[in-house]
Amino acid sequence: MIHFVILISRQGKVRLTKWYSPYQQKERSTVIRELSGLIPTRGPKLCNFVEWKGYKVVYRRYASLYFCICIDPDDNELEILEIIHHFVEILDRYFGSVCELDLIFNFHKAYYILDEILIAGELQESSKKTVARLIAAQDSPVETAKEEASSISNMMSQAM
């Protein structure tokens, strides 16, 4: 099963983390620190798998962003590699040629989308169309609510 998903930038900034196995706060930081030292330093022509502490980390780089998924050593690595790409394609479709900035300013959307793809560290849906449809359906009540909110009081958004 997938133990966690982490998106880190080349500079080591975390863009998304999702933990499917129970990690304490401290362990989470350690994992992120270790992986940001391990993965971005690997050269471009190497394989997409890193053996790490008895687990395997399958990763793939898109522009300046590394998508990393940690799995058990006997899991199917290529399957996971394509889950990453599947996720990226859905992000791409949703944001319209996605870039790191989209994920920074809309990190919450990335979480919604990931939740439609993975649950319990397993693949939930492999149809891009279905995921896109479900995300759109989720967006609409939120958008409606937002409009209501802004009509009640604009100043709230200024309050920050």
């Binding site: 975390v14 129970p22 190497l46 319990a120 939930q124």
Partner: protein, 1025 residues
């Protein structure tokens, strides 16, 4: 797409991004946290929108790596909000910020449950997703039935059901009891009929988890899985949106094949044929294509298919096809495929018959050892290690030594250990072995553990021919200017013992030897000084007639160390000094070290313990299969006497005994190490031979592993031609008749019997034995102290098997009754023979099935251990802390409560250990022991004499050293406590050695040693010389 509306959040993110340095960022974040804290304090004035916004900010800050130690209540409370937008944020942020053990989660169980059982589909989805991602044990207990209902409900839409399936999977992982097996096998089978591929993907993940722990219940699902696979592989009726780069859901294909790998075999010929057709199609139809995603997806499927083919142990032709494919893969440019090719080739080593084909790729694999990618280098090393045998050891070990010069720091230790083990296992001659180890110490001394050099010393001590050679080599190394300390130790030791053998060579007079060793004295550590002092004493002893100058030099050193700070050194110095003044008496006291008793290699043991990796296990297995022949190749075998000493003993591989023997071996090796260094006492090493004999007698009837158990010594069969040729004439006799068909047991098993037995100790069905004619399967049900087994005897031939006879030899602790076994098994038929078992008392003694049949003129007789083991009569029971402690306290001290510190434990993570316990029928009960590194388990033991008896187990692990732990076991019956402790120990300390050597070496002249020694060619070598 902008973050419309939530401007505050966007502004904050921009601010953080605009920070010039970490310090500024921290200030900005602290300011924001302060702001949020103030706002949360006065919650009344907070609109839902604001609350939402702040909670998102918290998540963002948290993601940046800052501690967010407040606001969890606010995040969690949003879950209870009536409106979707707030609820959604609450669920998502909670599942990111908290983990399953967080107390806050308890507060929302009811809300979550209401959302799950409520009618609002979107709320259901949110709740299922969160529980699926972070649900813990409590969620499991209170929500599982509701989640199950959603999964099987016909009125729920796919989007809810697929989430329910994975949510249930999570709950099942947290507490397997929530899925009640009885009802589920039919339900699962229906679920696998699902047409919606999204739901089916999730259901398949759930199924993999269920079937992995209980194959029995799900046999009915097997044909459905094959159907699903067929449908996908043939691309029948797969909607476009479920194809990925033209491949029908590769993920579902992989999952389905994974599920199929849990079934031990596929009996129904039609299903089997259909599956093999699909597999064949995948194996042949996967080409390398340009599009990287398509390529990856296709190969994901292909590698899973390879794994399934290996598991099913398909026909030889298909297997060679697989190896051929892998051979192609390890040479391609694509690094992923190269990596996976090597990884899967290592797995392939487990399969019999293909090792030779794998060896053809040796050159390519050695090239991969120099790959720029460390992931690939690691795989190559593992594979080389696994495939090494007596034919290629020299090449491989020399490659490894060469690689040691340039290897990454992180790999050196492993590399050194592996090289040492291979050198020991497969040495074509002993001087080569000494060369290799000395080179190893020279090149990578830091990574050479003491075990490695102790072992060299043992070899040299036990082989006189080797002594001058080793001493000369040691002398050579001492010439080197910079020497690793381990090298100083081993050289000094060897020269102390054997330098007198070199005395006539130039530069090897006692004086010169002393001088060159003494150069090192000022720079070495205390432990080495001790060895050097012993060496000096020995040099002095051999210094005849005495050279006064040398004597004075050495004495002055002894005197100097008489007041040394370390007591050990002080004592040595004082003793050696006074001894050396006694003249002739010195010779008696400091005589050469006697030969070491044979024992299991501590190295091999270490390797077994250290690695859980399949590659490693396979390697060990293969090695142990080959070692007999190895020993025979290098040694001249002279039987001590004509008769064959208890050769059956060599085949008895009782796990417990094995373990004791090996731990004992290790312990005494330590001890020996000490006496060596001490060098002043000829200690009589306790021989474990008598006890082995005793065990041999006790276990006599269990001498069973493998059909080649010789019933009459003269009929000893040995596949190894060489050994047969070297054997005495009367032993060679039967070989001359070997072509005659009626040789007993000319039929070889095609499964690893010991491994099957071990597997069956942990599960209730599977294959017990298989040879080219018959397959014996077993299926068992246990209820309290009763057991009902069914033996499935399947004739694989097109002609009948006759004179079938099955006899049960039960130990005293079991009552067993086997129903009639027919004398003839018709062609291609399967006969079922029920076997009733009653457990009388706690014991680890085993029952044996003495099975024979005739095929043509060949009589086959095998004796098989039956997996009716102590843990089968356990029933897990959950005990609350309130019940546990009084019990635990009332059972105080031995013999009702026993405690033992186990070392050399196979390193397992706690979840792995918990899994092992679960398969042993021990209910792991979290929450009783406050220390997270400890494990508490409870179970009930049933026997006729004890009836139901509660057993409590506590394991304390040391996270910094997983090879040791302390186990405490308590029950109301002393025998039970002891037996249960031993039983658990067997499973923890090492996977009982998997394979007995296929051919027993005909003679063990040094007489009955412990069986463990048979696994160790090193020990055998020593024994044979």
């Amino acid at each position: 797409m902008a973050l419309s509306g939530m401007r505050g959040l966007s502004v904050f993110i921009s601010d953080v991004r605009n920070c010039q340095n970490k310090e500024q960022e921290r200030l900005r974040v602290d300011k924001e946290l302060g702001n949020i804290r103030t706002r949360f304090k006065n919650e009344k004035g907070l609109s839902p929108y604001e609350k939402k916004k702040y909670v998102w900010k918290m998540l963002y800050i948290y993601m940046l790596g800052y501690d967010v130690d407040f606001g969890h209540t606010e995040a969690v409370s949003l879950i209870s909000a009536p409106k979707y937008p707030e609820k959604q944020v609450g669920y998502i942020v909670t599942s990111c910020l908290l983990n399953e053990n967080h107390d806050f989660l308890r507060m929302v169980i009811n809300t979550v449950r209401n959302d799950i059982v409520g009618r609002n589909e979107t709320f259901q989805c949110l709740a299922l997703t969160m529980v699926g991602n972070i649900g813990g044990k409590e969620f499991s207990e209170s929500l599982a039935p509701d989640v199950q209902k959603l999964l099987i409900s016909s009125s729920c839409r796919p989007l809810v059901r697929k989430k329910a399936a994975l949510c249930l999977l999570r709950l099942y992982r947290k507490n397997p009891d929530v899925v009640n097996v009885d009802g589920w096998s039919d339900r699962m089978s229906q679920l696998l009929d699902e047409r919606d591929l999204g739901v089916l993907t999730s259901v398949m993940s759930l199924f993999v988890a269920l079937v992995s722990s209980n194959i029995e219940a799900y046999w009915n699902c097997l044909p459905k899985c094959v159907k699903i696979l067929e449908r996908l592989a043939r691309n029948q009726d797969v909607p476009q949106e479920y194809t990925y780069y033209g491949i029908p859901s590769p993920w579902l294909q992989v999952k389905t094949m994974r599920a199929l790998q849990y079934f031990p075999t596929i009996e129904d010929p039609n299903t089997r044929r259909a599956l093999f057709e699909v597999l064949q199609r995948i194996l042949m139809g996967t080409d390398v294509v340009k599009n990287v995603n398509k390529n990856n997806a296709a190969h994901a499927v292909l590698f899973e298919a390879l794994a399934l083919v290996m598991h099913l142990d398909a026909e030889k032709e298909m297997m060679s096809q697989c190896v051929a494919l892998l051979g192609k893969f390890i040479a391609v440019r694509e690094p992923n495929i190269r990596y996976l090719g090597l990884e899967n080739m290592t797995r392939m080593l487990l399969v019999s018959d293909v090792q030779d084909i794998i060896k053809r790729h040796q050159a390519q694999i050695i090239t991969s050892l120099k790959d720029p990618d460390i992931s690939i280098r690691r795989r190559a090393l593992d594979l080389l290690y696994g495939m090494c045998d007596v034919t290629n050891a020299k090449d491989i070990v020399e490659e490894l030594l060469q690689y040691l010069n340039t290897a990454d720091f992180v790999m050196r230790e492993e590399l050194a250990l592996k090289a040492a083990i291979l050198a020991e296992k497969f040495a074509p001659d002993l001087s080569w072995y000494v060369d290799v180890i000395l080179q190893l110490i020279d090149k990578a001394g830091d990574f050479v553990s003491d075990d490695i050099w102790y072992r060299v010393v043992q070899f040299v001590t036990n082989n006189e021919d080797l002594q001058p050679y080793a001493a000369a080599k040691a002398r050579e190394y001492l010439e080197k200017p910079a020497l690793h300390e381990t090298m100083v130790k081993v050289s000094a030791y060897l020269l102390g013992e054997y330098s007198h053998l070199l005395a006539r060579r130039p530069g090897c007079s006692p004086k010169e030897i002393f001088a060159i060793i003494n150069e090192k004295l000022p720079t070495v550590a205390t432990s080495t000084v001790a060895i050097l002092l012993s060496t000096y004493a020995k040099i002095l002893m051999h210094n005849l007639p005495p050279d006064p100058e040398l004597q004075e030099q050495i004495w002055s050193i002894f005197r100097k160390y008489e007041s040394y700070i370390d007591v050990e050194i002080q004592q040595r110095a004082v003793e050696y000094f006074s001894l050396s003044r006694k003249g002739a008496a010195l010779v008696d006291v400091l005589a050469e070290m006697p030969k070491f008793p044979e024992r299991q290699s501590a190295l091999l043991k270490k390797a077994e313990d250290a690695e859980v990796d399949t590659a490693e296990q396979s390697a060990i297995k293969i090695r142990s299969q080959q070692q007999t022949s190895n020993a025979l190749v290098v040694t001249d075998q002279r039987p001590a006497n004509g008769s064959l000493p208890v050769s059956q003993l060599g085949l008895v591989r009782m796990p417990s005994q094995n373990m004791e023997a090996s731990t004992q071996g290790q312990a005494s090796s330590r001890e020996q190490g000490m006496t060596d260094e001490n060098g002043s006492i000829n200690k009589v090493v306790p021989q474990d031979a008598p006890s082995a004999d005793l065990l041999g007698d006790l276990l006599g009837p269990l001498a069973i592993e493998g059909p080649q158990v010789p019933t009459v010594p003269g009929e000893q069969k040995d596949k190894n031609l060489l050994s047969a040729l070297e054997a005495t004439p009367e032993e060679a006799g039967p070989l001359a008749l070997a072509t005659v068909d009626d040789q007993p047991n000319s039929v070889q098993p095609i499964v690893n019997i010991a491994e099957r037995f071990n597997a069956l100790c942990l599960k209730d069905s599977g294959v017990l034995y298989e040879d080219p004619h018959i397959q014996i399967g077993i299926k068992a049900e246990w209820r309290a102290h009763h057991g009902r087994l069914v033996l499935f005897l399947g004739n694989k031939n097109t002609s009948p098997l006759v004179s079938v006879r099955a006899l049960i030899l039960p130990p005293t602790n079991l009552k067993m009754e086997l129903s009639m076994v027919p004398e003839t098994i018709p062609p291609r038929a399967q006969v079922q023979c029920p076997l009733e078992v009653v457990n009388l008392q706690a014991s680890r003694d085993l029952a044996v099935l003495d099975f024979s049949y005739k095929f043509g003129t060949a009589v086959v007789n095998v004796k098989l251990r039956l997996p009716v083991v102590l843990n089968k009569f356990l029933q897990p029971i959950l005990v609350s802390a309130e019940e546990f402690f009084p019990q635990w306290k009332s059972l105080s001290g031995p013999p009702l409560k026993l405690q033992e510190v186990l070392r050399g434990v196979k390193p397992l993570s706690l979840p792995e250990m918990a899994n092992l316990f679960t398969s042993l029928h021990l209910a792991v009960t979290p929450g009783i022991d406050a220390n997270p590194n400890n494990l508490v388990a409870c179970t009930t033991f049933y026997s006729e004499s004890t009836r139901a008896m509660l057993c409590l187990i506590r394991v304390e692990t040391d996270p910094s050293d997983r090879t040791q732990l302390r186990i405490t076991i308590a029950s109301g019956d002393p025998t039970l406590t002891f037996e249960l402790k031993e039983c658990i120990k067997e499973h923890l300390v090492s996977i009982p050695m998997q394979t007995p050597p296929p051919a027993v070496s005909p003679v063990q002249p040094q007489s009955p040693v412990t069986p463990a020694a048979y696994n160790d060619p090193g020990a055998m070598l020593a024994g044979l010389l």
